[in-house]
């Protein structure tokens, strides 16, 4: 973990308010699921850095996938290659590389797909294939499809409006594919509702599951206590430090 002033190498729109930004961090690697706190321009009184999931490390360049949804990210959109930004990372705990018997399955929702690009590549290097179940609202919200396939992952998509792949929720697609729950391990990243459904399905089939939670963060370094999640005993854990990837059994899912 370090704070580096990193130049923007590329920054492009991929439609629908989604952007890919590459920063020359010089990091050697990261564990998929880890994140970074990125400085965004202070226009309009923006103060805090923004947390983003790390999508890919290629040489010295780290890629972040984001959607321009708020003041901070809309300020970010304006920045051109060459501009230096402070980026603090890689932070937190990512997905684990533990031994698995049975298929390794990822379940992603929307831009929660980000960590699974690098994860597909890292697993492929170890001789494993990641089976990705990827749900989004509509076709244009499905991202990184070519990159995931090039990385050796098997991708099945769902959209809520049926514009691509299975029509409905990605968890329904998952249930349909694995009616008996014969899955080795599940990794999931996306909105809380998705994580809940994935966690509960995994629990009903005794599948170990790792869930990457998305929380607003103040500092990313564990001092502000603003990004906590609750376990089943009601105790709080910091998403930025103990997470953002948690074992499903550690989280209060309802």
């Amino acid at each position: 973990m370090k704070d580096t002033l990193s130049q923007i190498v590329y920054h492009r729109s991929i439609g629908n308010d989604y952007y890919r930004i590459g920063l020359k961090t010089g990091w050697a690697s990261f564990q998929p699921g880890q994140f970074a706190m990125l400085q965004v321009p202070g226009d309009g009184g923006v103060l805090l850095r923004r947390p983003f999931s790390l999508a890919r490390q290629e040489g010295e360049v780290s890629e972040i996938l984001y959607k321009a949804v708020g003041r901070g990210t809309r300020n970010l959109v304006k920045l051109q290659p060459g501009v230096p930004l402070k980026i603090l990372g890689p932070l937190g705990h990512g997905f684990s590389s533990s031994e698995v018997s049975g298929p390794r399955v990822a379940v992603a929702g929307g831009y929660g797909i980000a960590p699974f690009w690098e994860w597909s590549l890292q697993l492929a290097k170890l001789g494993h294939r990641l089976q990705i179940f990827y749900g989004a609202r509509t076709k244009t919200d499905l991202l990184y499809l070519d990159e995931l396939r090039d990385a050796g992952a098997e991708v099945q998509c769902s959209t809520e409006d049926g514009s691509a792949g299975f029509r409905g929720l990605v968890t329904d697609l998952l249930r349909e594919q694995f009616p008996n729950g014969k899955v080795g391990r599940v990794y999931s990243c996306g909105p809380w509702g998705l994580l809940q459904a994935v966690g509960q399905w995994c629990e009903s089939h005794s599948i170990p599951a790792e869930l990457s939670v998305e929380e607003a963060m103040g500092c990313g370094t564990g001092v502000c206590l603003g990004c906590v999640v609750q376990n089943r005993a009601g105790k709080y854990f910091r998403a930025c430090k103990e997470g953002p990837v948690f074992l499903a059994e550690q989280l209060k899912l309802n």
Binding site: D3, C219, L225, Q230, K235, Y236
Partner: protein, 304 residues
């Protein structure tokens, strides 16, 4: 860097930069960024008699040039602090300021009693807590209540007693004088300003607790004004807090009358902020031909 050393009464600090309570954990969280002992002191996360889990989420929201938080004083409790967290700070030989709070006067006293036999050289009394027995009104809102809790803690803790003042009062100088008369060795101000942000779609507050404390650059002008006013009213040293991020921010507080300052929210944005400020202050004094920081303190030229 002797031009930076500070004496807050009997408490000696190697420099005037203190990590503010609730923004620096228990001192070990940011050890990857700079050596904690490079700071003048570290104010710990607020400590209560028993461990506290804190408030439900969401706990923070960004507002223009600031943030509102209602963490709910999540902390390990005084016992675990002394056993598990204090040894690290002791090993680093950094000045520890234990920030403490209670729901009742008795709780404040009990925590201070626990700290008396330890190595902790200073307590920072957080009086911005609701006094359960006085119908939930904050100790810090009322000069009489503020003096009572100060006096009670004073009687069981014989080292440095700093009292952190809440800005949510009609007259801060009145509270400051009452607390000084009750035996405080120094005052730190300001704590966060009670605030609210509303989600206009759901019509609910943006944080689960409803209201929270506003911090960051947004509150700096208010804090500077309050330091200047309190400086004219009391004789004991003042520690300035409120939206300090860089050199010029800190200079405003020294000129207004603060002998030391605390860095809070800025650490969330720049983990290195406090450490950087120590260096920048030293360079500034050197380049400006100022022999010692104290030459700056309270040099404000009020309009006549």
């Amino acid at each position: 860097m002797s031009r930076l050393n500070v004496k807050l009464g009997d408490l000696s600090l190697k420099n005037p930069v203190i990590a503010a309570s609730g923004t620096f954990g228990y001192g070990e969280e940011l050890e990857n960024f700079f050596p904690v002992e490079s700071l003048g002191a570290v104010a710990t996360k607020g400590l209560s008699l028993k461990p506290r889990e804190g408030n439900p989420m969401p706990r923070i929201v960004e507002t223009p040039s600031g943030m509102i938080n209602a963490i709910g004083l999540q902390n390990v409790g005084i016992e675990a602090f002394i056993e598990k967290k204090l040894p690290y700070l002791e090993s680093k030989q950094v000045v520890v300021i234990a920030n403490i709070f209670g729901n009742t006067l008795e709780e404040y006293v009990e925590i201070a009693r626990c700290l008396q036999p330890t190595s902790v050289p200073a307590i920072e009394l957080n009086i911005s807590c609701p006094n359960v027995k006085a119908g939930g009104m904050e100790f810090g809102n009322d000069p009489v209540q503020a003096a009572r809790v100060t006096e009670a803690v004073r009687s069981v803790f014989n080292r440095h007693l700093m009292v952190k003042l809440s800005p949510n009062v009609t007259s801060l100088p009145k509270v400051a004088c009452a607390v000084a008369d009750a035996g405080a060795d120094s005052l730190s101000l300001i704590n966060t300003i009670t605030a609210m942000a509303i989600n206009t779609k759901t019509r609910k507050p943006m944080i689960a607790n409803g209201v929270g404390g506003l911090s960051g650059p947004a509150i700096r002008p208010i804090a500077v004004r309050m330091v200047a006013e309190v400086y004219r009213s009391v004789k004991i040293p003042i520690v300035g807090i409120g939206g300090i991020g860089e050199l010029n921010d800190a200079l405003e507080f020294f000129i207004a009358g603060a002998q030391a300052i605390q860095i809070g929210t800025a650490t969330f944005v720049e983990p290195n902020a406090a450490h950087q400020l120590v260096k920048d202050l030293d360079s500034y004094l050197k380049e400006s031909g100022i022999n010692h920081l104290k030459e700056l303190v309270g040099t404000l030229k009020w309009p006549s």
